[in-house]
Every structure is written in C-alpha cells, then in structure tokens.
C-alpha cells in the first residue's frame, strides 16, 4: 500500500492535486463515521447558515489585508528612501526601523497594539484598525527592503540623465526611478499580499470577525473541528490561488510590454 501510494505521489507533482488526493483519503475515513459534514452541508438549513457565517468572514479578511498592504506599501517606501542616502544618519534610521520591526513576531505586535497602545496613547482603537496597524507596521519592514532592492537595481545612468535635464530629487524619483522600480518589484509585492492574507488570520486573537475567528467560534458551538477547519483551509486556498493567478497575469502583461 505504502509503495503504491509513494508511486502515486511521484506521478502527480502539482501540490493542488496532492491536496485533492488528501481530501479524498480523508473522505474515505468519513465512511467509518468520523465525519460530520452535516454542519456545513448546504442542503440543510443549519448547514447553509453555518456556511454563510464562515464565508462572511471573507469580507473582513480581504478588507483587513488590502487596507494593511496599502498602508504598508506607503510606509515601506517612506522607510526605504533614507536607505538610499549617502549620509550615515538617514541610513541608520532605516536600519534601526527595519531590524526592530522585523524582530517583533506579528502576533506579539497585534497584542501590543490592541491591548498596549491604548494605555500608552490613551486612545481607543477598534479591533479592525488595531489589526490593520499591526499588520501594516510588521509588513512595512519587508516592503522597505523590497523597495530598496528595486530602487537600487535601477542603473546609475538614469539618475545621471535626470540630473542632466535638471530634474530635482522628487521629480527624478517620481517620474524616472519609481515607475521602473515598481515594475520590477511587482511580483514581490504580490507575494507580500499573499503573505498578508495569511497573516490576517492572527488578528482573530483580538476578536476580529474574519475567516479564522468565525471558524473558531463555530467549532465551539458545533464541535466539529475537522469539517469546519477543512472548510477554512479551502477558503484561504481559493482566495490565495486567485490572488496568485492575478499576480502571474500581471507579471506576464508587464513582460510583454
């Protein structure tokens, strides 16, 4: 049995088909009575309600991730620019920020922003914005490194040509360097979006009603973790495969240009 299975794996390299195979294997187990698909069976009223409850979390997962990535891209660019300076002080500021932020686990940052920050700044912060803030700060360090690499990959001659037609620093960046750099780093930005979608599941710990939190809550009332978390896995899988396909499409389009 093990021999034939390993042969089977070798024949289907695609990870997606592997996963389907795994699902098939698990459903075999369902015959022995371990499965209770009824909790998410769309044919029944309760199943439909449960499914709708789970899928509704998508709205928050996507809203949270997209808001956070927009902020982290802007923040990352702001942090990357001092790194390109010839002077030591701006470079140091960039290094300190990147090293500091990268050293904090996202989960810890989420907890700190939600429970800690209101005490420091004496302000109340909603679950959504605490999640956005924590994810954006955490991701901005990586975005900064991506931008730095992208901008540094642009030929020195582009700066020299800009200088020779009297462009100032701002216009050189805006019209010459960044359009070329962003084109080069788009695949990396796409990866960060995928990463962000996955990390947003951590915001469930402060009560954000996104996909993972809803699954957790349903597990508590229905006590069918296997089925509910399987649905959760599929939810993330579908969203991320769609985003990945979008990124690849964008890459191909830019290549042909």
């Amino acid at each position: 049995m093990r021999f034939t299975m390993s042969k089977f794996w070798a024949l289907v390299p695609s990870s997606l088909i592997r996963l389907l195979g795994l699902a098939g294997l698990i459903s075999l187990g369902g015959c022995s009575g371990n499965w209770g698909w009824y909790v998410v069976n769309p044919a029944t009223e309760t199943g439909r309600q449960n499914l709708a409850f789970l899928i509704d979390g998508l709205y928050y997962t996507i809203g949270l991730s997209v808001t956070a990535i927009c902020i982290s891209i802007c923040l990352g660019l702001l942090v990357a620019l001092p790194a390109l300076s010839n002077r030591r002080a701006p470079k140091a500021i960039n290094r300190v920020y990147v090293e500091l932020v990268r050293a904090i686990p996202i989960l810890v940052l989420i907890l700190w922003v939600y429970y800690g920050l209101p005490q420091v700044a004496s302000l109340s912060i909603s679950v959504f914005w605490a999640g956005v803030l924590a994810l954006a700060i955490s991701d901005s360090a990586f975005q900064a490194e991506i931008f730095r690499a992208g901008i540094q990959s642009i030929d020195r001659g582009q700066y020299e040509a800009s200088h020779s037609i009297s462009l100032n620093y701002r216009d050189t960046m805006r019209y010459v360097i960044l359009p070329q750099a962003i084109k080069r780093i788009l695949p990396a930005l796409g990866n960060q979006l995928v990463y962000m979608l996955k990390m947003s599941s951590l915001v469930s710990v402060i009560g954000m009603q996104e996909l993972t939190r809803r699954a957790n809550e349903l597990v508590v009332t229905e006590y069918r973790p296997l089925e509910i978390y399987t649905v959760l896995v599929l939810e993330y899988l579908v969203v991320i495969l769609i985003v990945s396909a979008g990124v690849r499409w964008l890459e191909r389009r830019l290549e042909t240009n």
């Binding site: 040509a161 200088h163 020779s164 037609i165 216009d171 010459v176 070329q180």
Partner: protein, 250 residues
C-alpha cells in the same frame, strides 16, 4: 561666432579628483569660451570623462574650482542653477528613460524642471526631433529604436533644455560602426550652428572636422593642447605622438 568676453565661459582651475587612491584628475586647468569646440582624446583612464563629469557635477572634485559664467559650481543652489541653465550632456550609454516614449523623454525636462506648458514642450520636442531627423519615431519606446537613433534622441533631449554648452561623453563608443556617422553628422551640424561643445571621442576624422581646439590627456593631466592643424601634424609630446600614431594607423 565667439564674441569678445571679459572672462571665459567655463573656467577650470587646478581641479583634482581622486577615486580612492587613484588620481583621476591632477590639478587640471582649462578655459572654454562661448562658441568654442573642444575635443578631448586620450587613453582610457586618462581622466577625460572625469573632467567633463566634474564640469557637470556628476562627480564632485576634491580640490580646485570650476566656474561657469563666473559662478562657482559646487553643491550649492546657485551652482546647481547655473549648471542646469547652461549645460547639457550626452552619455555613452544614451541613458534614455526606457519606460517613457521618445516624446515623453524629451518633454520631461521642459515640463517638470522648466515648468513649461505641455503643448509648448511638445512643439519644442518635435522641433528638436526634426533637427536630429527622427520626428516619425516620437511615439515609440527607446528599446524599439536603433542605437544611433537612441543617441540622436538623447542629443535632442539635451537640446530641449536650451543649454549654452553641450558635453559629449564618448557619444559613439557604444554604437555599431554603421551608426556612428549618423550621430556624428548631427553633432557636426550642431557645431555649425555655433553651439559651444566639449566632446570626448576617439573619432579623429570627426575631431579634425569639428574641433577648433584639441586636447590630449594622460594620467589625469592635460599633456597637449592646440588647434587641430598643429595637433595632428606636429604634436610636441612623445606620449601624444605615440597615441596618435596608434589611433591613426588604420
């Protein structure tokens, strides 16, 4: 063309430049009057490119002084202003902006740095594209053009900023042989209109035609300087004689 002026348009005084331990320019002094056409030649690493890059402040000299129109050129705002109002540059590698069309390449400087209206900048760009004889290519991207065409676009881009002096840093060194002539023709035409220029090149036929002053550099120093007639027929220094005999042999 050149009118009597009280001081040279460009004054280079004892300018030195080091790259680490390597001395690229060793106390170079040079005067350029308006209307003058100076051709610089010399072996690679002799400092000829560094000299014009220092004039344009793409490199910052460590000692000495460069004045353009009487104003000291350094990192200061007045220095930058006089540089930006007077000096255009053409590079060996063209350095066109690959993400912009030819027209956009030409309009960027006038619109963003000179605050010119888009329509005026477009007219100006088309005018100079006609002067370099490729007006029909205005909507293409640089990568769609041949090397010779790209360099002509680069010349037009510099001219759009209405410089008083043009610096050419080996403008034909990156070109295929059959494209060199079309670029040199454009530069020669420009010289005939009275444009002041400093050109670093190894094209000695072109230098003979265009230059009113030849300059030979070696080891960061000006070794020989003179009008082309005496420069080519009776060079004084042995180093220059050897260089010319090698470069003119074929």
């Amino acid at each position: 063309m050149s009118q009597p002026v009280t001081q040279p348009f460009i004054q280079v005084r004892d300018v030195s430049k080091y790259f680490g331990q390597f001395c690229a320019l060793d106390a170079v002094s040079l005067d350029i009057e308006l209307g003058q056409k100076l051709v610089i030649c010399g072996p690679s690493g002799s400092g000829k490119s560094t000299l014009i890059r220092c004039i344009n402040q793409l490199e910052h000299h460590e000692a000495g002084e460069i004045r353009i129109d009487g104003i000291v050129v350094d990192g200061s705002p007045t220095g930058r202003a006089v540089l930006h109002n007077n000096v255009g540059m053409v590079f060996q590698q063209f350095n066109l902006f690959p993400h912009l069309t030819i027209l956009e390449n030409l309009m960027l400087g006038p619109v963003r740095a000179r605050k010119m209206a888009e329509a005026d900048a477009r007219d100006l760009a088309m005018h100079y594209l006609e002067r370099v004889r490729i007006p029909e290519q205005f909507s293409k991207y640089p990568a769609q053009l041949s090397g010779g065409q790209q360099q002509r676009v680069a010349i037009a881009r510099a001219l759009c900023m209405a410089p008083k002096i043009m610096l050419f840093d080996e403008p034909t060194s990156a070109l295929d042989p059959e494209m060199i002539a079309e670029v040199l023709d454009v530069i020669e035409e420009l010289a005939n209109t009275g444009m002041t220029m400093i050109c670093v090149t190894h094209e000695m036929g072109f230098a003979r035609q265009v230059a009113d002053m030849m300059l030979f550099m070696d080891h960061g120093k000006i070794v020989e300087m003179g009008p082309p007639k005496t420069f080519f027929t009776a060079p004084e220094s042995d180093r220059c004689k050897l260089f010319l005999s090698q470069i003119l042999r074929h």
